[in-house]
């Protein structure tokens, strides 16, 4: 509290109101329900659920994960039961969670993205989607769309026509200039961008002289990527007018505040959930403490406030 007053943690991503800036990153928090024993989900700004595709996907073979210095590589490859399964079996279980439940929509063809988004758009209690044009672990589509301005624009254009609610586009860091991709999706009507998805990496078992991951490469996440993510969030926030959601290696409230100062209107916490399943609520509390300690009345006061 500042002089006895509560600080205001609320923020927004376009028309989407968040009670605080802390959301969870897709693929790291399941459907939220997996973490109910650890976290009061209503204390979060939002939950971005697993990547969902039009058709079911088995994902890549095992091994899918390698621990690395301050992080991990994964090549899960968008394993999910498809949008029909989500609508029929999972939506009924998550629709009453008292926070913004956002679906990460993935695909490998433009029509699939648009159709999947349209189906999710019919669900009353899903106020937004995060469009994943940046998954490094699927052979067709995925990141391929996200690494060129034309590719990114073409997916967003098709999805924008099919999806009227808040559209967040998740960007790949595996590009030469992320700001230009951000501008391209902004021009097609994206309401916000989120970044970064994982950085493409690799690991080799020297004893066996073989690649460890089943598909050879994977996406790097965790604190190892944070400085890269922070730099990109800063660049993109300067380049576009739409809100930016920052993610990449956030482990603590201090990390989250860095992203807010760099220009993010909200943050997503991903890999840290694996280390501390209750980290999200601790980050919310820590941001509140930071604001109180520095005499800010609202989290909005620190968005982009880096000098």
């Amino acid at each position: 509290m500042v002089n006895g007053k509560m600080v205001d943690l609320s923020t927004n991503i376009g028309a989407l109101e968040l009670r605080n800036p802390v959301m969870t990153a897709s693929g790291t928090f399941g459907y939220g329900l997996e973490f109910e024993d650890f976290v009061d989900l209503s204390k979060l700004g939002g939950i971005v659920v697993k990547g969902t595709t039009l058709k079911p996907r088995e994902g890549n073979s095992y091994p899918r994960m390698v621990e690395t210095a301050s992080g991990m590589l994964n090549c899960v490859g968008l394993q999910n039961k498809g949008v029909d399964y989500f609508c029929e079996n999972i939506y009924p279980k998550v629709k009453d969670i008292k926070t913004n439940v956002i679906v990460n929509v993935s695909g490998s063809a433009i029509e699939d993205y648009a159709e999947c988004a349209r189906r999710i758009g019919e669900l009353d209690n899903i106020p937004a989607i995060e469009l994943n044009i940046s998954c490094p672990n699927v052979r067709q589509g995925g990141m391929a769309f996200g690494v060129t301005c034309e590719g990114a624009a073409s997916v967003v254009r098709a999805v924008r026509k099919a999806y009227p609610k808040t559209l967040i586009v998740k960007l790949s860091p595996n590009v030469t200039d992320i700001a230009e991709i951000a501008r391209a999706v902004e021009a097609e009507g994206a309401d916000a961008v989120s970044l970064i998805n994982t950085l493409m990496g690799m690991a080799i078992d020297v004893e066996k002289r073989k690649k460890i991951l089943s598909i050879g490469t994977g996406g790097l996440s965790g604190p190892a990527v944070k400085p890269v993510a922070l730099r990109m969030v800063y660049q993109v926030a300067k380049a576009v007018k739409i809100p930016v959601v920052g993610l990449g290696g956030i482990m603590s409230a201090t990390d989250a505040v860095e992203f807010l100062l760099a220009g993010a209107s909200a943050v997503e916490i991903g890999t840290a959930n694996f280390i501390d399943p209750a980290v999200t609520v601790k980050v919310v509390k820590g941001i509140e403490n930071y604001l109180q300690r520095h005499g800010f009345q609202s989290v909005r006061d620190i968005i982009g406030a880096v000098e």
Partner: protein
């Protein structure tokens, strides 16, 4: 079963076998949540070069004290193995689905991870105990009965013996006498034999013949008598479990195995630890670590 994040205080640390550490710990505050044999805990490693938690089988629970067997294989397990009495280790538990054994409520196993799939595998779980008749139970204690007929055999190799002690104790508490068949390369590598002997009969194989029968667990004479065990439970190196599973399948014995695929989250969120099953990729951390062999493509 509610999962909890708990700080545990180490109450006992002892080197056992070769490069293995037997740890006991109690919650710093409050009490342990209810744990089942075959479940595991995710232990936080606060050491250099380690990022993820380490999934460790629950070796035993006695009152408010839990124990683990940690085989030192890398930096994470080295740190866990170096814990001293009084040290604190942050733990998430209990995780996963344990072994299926007599009297267990079926509903508990009924709800598989429905979020990632449609409750697969449940139908094929053999509850061999449901077919156990009263005379079978009597025969378990009859000196005239065959030693291994209608008894569960718990087959462990290396540090894979860990969850079998807890399972054996729970079986014994239900009046079902477990037989342990434990294997290692040499007798020095056998772990906590005395603790197992307190719970049931212990049969041993060593590859060098330094104790028990020479060879692999799957070559032990007990498995080749004309009578059949009630149930096989196994945990150990993957080639050993596959050999046990093959034998069980040939003989038509119900068999459960405990897998240890590399995992990150431990709660079914990241989908890294999947096993390719008859119903597709399933998380070892939530649909397992214990699987009926009928659900596996082994």
């Amino acid at each position: 079963m509610k999962k909890e994040i708990l700080d545990l205080r180490v109450t006992h640390s002892e080197s056992v076998g070769t490069g293995c550490v037997f740890l006991k710990a109690v919650p710093v505050e409050g009490s342990l949540p209810e744990c089942q044999p075959g479940q595991f805990a995710q232990l936080m490693v606060d050491g250099p070069g380690v990022f993820l938690r380490r999934p460790i089988s629950i070796h035993d629970v006695e009152g408010n004290e839990i124990s683990f067997l940690v085989q030192v294989v890398g930096e994470g397990t080295r740190w866990l193995g170096s814990l001293k009495v009084g040290d604190i280790v942050n733990t998430v538990l209990p995780l996963g689905r344990g072994f299926c054994f007599g009297g267990e409520k079926r509903e508990e196993r009924g709800e598989r991870n429905e979020l990632s799939g449609e409750g697969a595998g449940v139908s094929s779980i053999h509850d061999s105990y449901s077919t156990l008749r009263q005379e079978d139970i009597i025969s378990l204690f009859s000196p005239l009965s065959s030693l291994y007929n209608k008894r569960p055999i718990l087959i462990g190799g290396g540090v894979g013996v860990a969850p079998l002690l807890f399972l054996g104790k729970r079986l014994k508490a239900k009046g079902i006498q477990p037989t342990f068949l434990l294997g290692a390369r040499t007798k020095e590598q056998l772990l906590r034999l005395d603790a197992f002997r307190e719970v049931g009969e212990v049969l041993v194989t060593t590859e060098d013949g330094s104790m028990g029968e020479r060879g692999f667990v799957t070559q032990h004479s007990s498995l080749f008598s004309s009578l059949s065990p009630l149930h096989i439970y196994t945990c150990g190196p993957s080639p050993m479990m596959k050999a046990v599973a093959r034998l069980a399948r040939e003989k038509g014995w119900p068999c459960e195995v405990s897998l240890e695929n590399r995992m990150a989250c431990g709660v079914g969120a990241c989908l890294c630890c999947v096993e390719d099953t008859t119903t597709g990729n399933r998380c070892v951390c939530t649909d397992g670590p214990v699987f009926n062999i009928n659900d596996l493509k082994w």
